[in-house]
């Protein structure tokens, strides 16, 4: 962050506007409305991990808008909060727009008061005014503005209500620095003054920094060491120690309490309470989603809906149309013809349109099969995310995930993993500790089949019986639980306590969901599609060099003897690594040719489901978790998958269970 500021100092000064606020107040939506470009907006706390910048032109004034990660305090408790604090200190924006939740005014004002101490020019935007009104909370923005000494605006971002006013406020003039200030206990004020006197003006707002130092803000150390000599840093440390002893209780807590009192005072003066809207249907529904009984019913309905939308509509109707009608009907014949006419050598022709061709295999695969399925999934997921259902699902799932040493929070990456494991690995960032992220990444790679794979698997199981389906689910659940429990024991560290903010249950706005889905589909095309091309090229070369047959030969003992599968199944597992669902498709073809009996079908499906994730997923694991952990997981998963498949093979044959 400092680098940006340094670089900007050389150029003509660009005018920066920073959007700041607690998580889930609609910063990102406002950002999108102000700049026209889009950052992923989400109801799930902590999703806005990266800082997004965009250009905004308001009434002829050109501004660079910065969307900062959500914060609960200016004294950072997390990486996100530290990023935001550093942006405010280092980039000195011309205007800070604090986005607050209207129905939670005290919490917003707690931040306002801290921004005031940092002497930042501020506009307070109280968003979600409609939700506050539903709860019978009316805020007099004029009175609050006078009390704070700044402009206060109320908005409803998804409806663009109040947006004009915000743009006018941004365009008109430099915003005012709030005049409202918190008076602390005289001991604290005394020491804050003495520390502030030691700070050079260049370090930033002295009083705010002094209070941060007194609150035991460890992250402040490096900043101060840059600006001060060692003796001064030591003096500050000593003063802080003295203040703590003189005060006899945690200074940070006392500072927080003083701010809280002031915030309550301000909020009370500006708030009128009227009767809440009589039918808070969304609140009732939101609470029902977490109810032990109703919540379970809703969960079942959601899963059924998800299956219907993604499995039946996406993987069925849309894929059939895209694959059979569009690609096999027009696209592939066209390119095959074109290649025959334009490409001179057989080798290059095969590379483009052969059985392992970039167009006939990679593109067909990425665009005609995976894209419709993932797009359908992302759309459904976006709806679930924007309603605020996912954190409620985390509440429902907490106990289950506890068995695996995780907390309910892990449900987000797991559900996303049912769509695309690669993207799910990225979202493990919402988990707090490295340990939790490791376990979640491992379980994702092992036992969570992605949408595309799931589609094919469901098709094959549907051909057998309900017993077969139950055995598949049962085995998967058992492996998930067992592996999770073992991982929880092996991976060092304590289980993190489950603490999660539950945002209000909302009706999602269609525009927002569509934009977000579009954003994710573009991400998918950019990140995953090239991997299909590389994977197919590798397969093509292996095939041309005759190595594919050698590999099949080498792996035959495991496949035929231990798993009891035909030799041809080896290819399915090999390509399964390049694209997991293509492996499933390969098995589907074998079954159609009558080469798999019911037991073999079951064994191959279970092994493939558990088997190592696809190449893109694996690369993402390396990127997020590091090479060594990723390779370790890879090896463990390969062994576990084959062991589970083998066990199922012998068990089914020994018990002779009728499967269909």
């Amino acid at each position: 962050m400092e680098m940006h500021a340094g670089a900007a100092a050389g150029k003509s000064p660009e005018e920066r506007v920073a959007l700041v606020g607690t998580p889930n107040v609609g910063k990102s939506v406002l950002f999108g409305l102000l700049t026209g470009t889009y950052a992923t907006v989400s109801n799930y706390p902590g999703t806005t991990v990266e800082v997004t910048r965009g250009n905004a032109a308001v009434h002829g004034r050109r501004l660079v808008c910065i969307d900062t990660p959500g914060i609960n305090s200016i004294v950072p408790m997390s990486e996100d909060e530290q990023v935001t604090r550093d942006i405010l200190l280092a980039e000195r924006p011309v205007t800070v727009v604090q986005v607050g939740d209207s129905k939670n005014l005290v919490r917003a004002l707690l931040i306002t008061l801290q921004l005031a101490e940092m002497e930042l020019p501020l506009i307070l935007d109280l968003n979600m005014e409609d939700e506050a009104r539903d709860r019978g909370i009316l805020i007099d923005t004029q009175a609050l503005g006078r009390a704070l000494g700044i402009e206060v605006i109320s908005t409803v971002a998804p409806e663009r209500k109040g947006l004009g006013e915000l743009r006018r406020a941004l365009a008109s003039r430099a915003a005012a620095v709030p005049s409202a200030a918190v008076r602390y206990h005289k001991v604290i004020e005394d020491y804050a003054g003495r520390i502030a006197a030691l700070l050079p003006p260049a370090a930033g707002p002295a009083r705010a920094l002094a209070l941060m130092a007194l609150s035991r803000d460890e992250t402040l150390g490096p900043r101060l060491r840059c600006a001060l000599d060692a003796a001064a840093v030591e003096t500050i440390e000593r003063l802080r120690g003295e203040c703590e002893r003189a005060f006899a209780r945690p200074v940070g807590t006392a500072i927080h309490e003083a701010r809280l009192r002031k915030a309550r005072e301000l909020a009370e003066a500006a708030t009128t309470r009227v009767a809440a809207s009589p039918y808070p249907i969304m609140r009732t529904l939101g609470a029902a989603c977490m109810h032990p009984v109703w919540g379970a019913c809703i969960l079942a309905a959601v899963l059924l809906g998800l299956y219907g939308f993604v499995g039946v509509l996406g993987a069925g109707v849309l894929v059939d149309f895209a694959e059979d009608a569009v690609f096999n009907g027009y696209v592939n014949p066209f390119f095959t013809r074109a290649a025959e006419l334009l490409v001179p050598t057989q080798f290059l022709r095969d590379m483009l349109v052969g059985p392992y061709g970039v167009i006939t295999m990679a593109l067909t695969y990425a665009l005609a099969i995976i894209l419709p399925i993932t797009a359908a999934f992302f759309l459904a997921f976006g709806v679930l995310e924007d309603t605020g259902y996912l954190p409620r699902l985390a509440v429902m799932a907490d106990r289950f995930f506890r068995l695996m040493g995780l907390s309910g929070k892990a449900v987000l990456p797991m559900v996303l993993g049912l769509g695309c494991g690669t993207m799910a690995v990225m979202t493990t960032r919402v988990l707090e500790t490295r340990r939790d992220r490791l376990i979640a990444t491992f379980l994702l790679a092992l036992a969570v089949p992605c949408a595309a794979q799931l589609g094919v698997i469901m098709g094959m199981l549907g051909g057998l019986s309900l017993t077969a389906f139950a055995i598949w689910i049962g085995c998967l659940g058992a492996v998930l639980l067992l592996a999770g429990r073992l991982a929880a024991l092996i991976v060092p560290g304590e289980r993190t306590g489950f603490i999660l903010e539950i945002p209000p249950f909302r009706l999602p706005s269609a525009g927002n969901v569509l934009l977000k889905t579009g954003h994710r589909v573009v991400w998918y095309l950019r990140e995953a599609a090239p991997l299909f091309v590389y994977g197919t090229l590798a397969l093509f070369l292996l095939d041309k060099a005759g190595l594919l047959d050698t590999l099949k030969e080498a792996l035959a003992p495991v496949i035929t003897d231990f798993l009891g599968l035909p030799r041809e199944a080896t290819a399915a597992f090999l390509v399964g690594f390049l694209r997991r669902d293509y492996g499933a498709a390969g098995l589907h073809a074998l079954r159609d040719q009558g080469m798999l009996d019911p037991v073999q079908t079951m064994v191959s499906l279970l092994t493939l489901t558990l088997f190592v994730p696809c190449l893109a997923h694996f690369l993402m694991m390396i990127k997020e978790r590091g090479l060594r952990p990723a390779v370790c997981m890879f090896v463990i998963i390969a062994v576990l998958a084959v062991a589970a498949g083998g066990a199922l093979n012998w068990t089914l044959r020994a018990l002779a269970i009728p499967l269909g």
Partner: protein, 222 residues
């Protein structure tokens, strides 16, 4: 526990009163487990046989043959010592979060006055058991509380759904994450549900936590 008791008798100020406390506490421990101790058992823990016999002369214990039992006066005093010891354990373990609290609890039991004892008991919400799961003998304040007062301070895990509560103190890890969400001492909250996870509303903020976190949040009714 017996090692610390021994140490105090050997090295501590070593007053007769402290020795009596330790002896009575030891006898109480045995009786609690279901049998009157032999003289040798008690001596093995507290040391000096002659001094144990002096406790008998002081009228707190009777020694019949080989067995020791408590006199009514001895039982009253033993009860108080044990109560102070176990309250101290709870205080150190739950609130001050001290891992190795045994030695300090042994010192503490001798020095606190009745009013401090009562204040600690009230602060802890009149806990029924010590951290080792042994019963804490009831004091006058507990009797009063069971008759006419609602629990003053209890864990959120023990509160009932729908209750309006105020946070007294928090001992669970993740204190800072909770503070950021408005869960700080003094905050008013409503317990919405306990299953499948705990959900509390603090103003217009709703937060879900698991039982482990909830049991470290201490609240009182409002």
């Amino acid at each position: 526990m017996k090692d610390f008791a021994h140490k105090i008798v050997q090295e501590g100020p070593g007053t007769q009163s402290m020795f009596e406390d330790e002896t009575l506490e030891t006898v109480w421990d045995f009786i609690e487990l279901g049998h009157a101790p032999a003289v040798a058992d008690v001596v093995a823990r507290v040391g000096d046989e002659a001094r144990v016999r002096a406790v008998s002369l002081a009228g707190f214990i009777t020694i019949a043959g080989d067995r020791i039992s408590l006199t009514p006066a001895g039982e009253r005093r033993a009860r108080d010592v044990v109560r102070r010891h176990r309250l101290a354990e709870r205080l150190f373990a739950d609130i001050l979060d001290i891992k190795d609290y045994e030695a300090d609890a042994c010192h503490f039991e001798h020095v606190i006055s009745a009013s401090v004892e009562e204040a600690i008991c009230t602060l802890l919400g009149h806990p029924p058991l010590c951290p080792h799961g042994k019963p804490i003998p009831k004091g006058a304040c507990c009797e009063l509380y069971t008759r006419k007062l609602a629990p003053l301070v209890r864990s959120l895990a023990d509160a009932e759904v729908g209750a309006m509560l105020r946070v007294t103190f928090i001992t669970s890890p993740g204190l800072q994450r909770l503070a950021g969400l408005g869960l700080v001492p003094g905050a008013a909250l409503r317990l919405q549900q306990k299953l499948p996870a705990f959900v509390v509303a603090i103003g217009e903020t709703t937060v879900a936590i698991d039982r482990d976190v909830a049991s470290g949040i201490f609240v009182r009714s409002v």
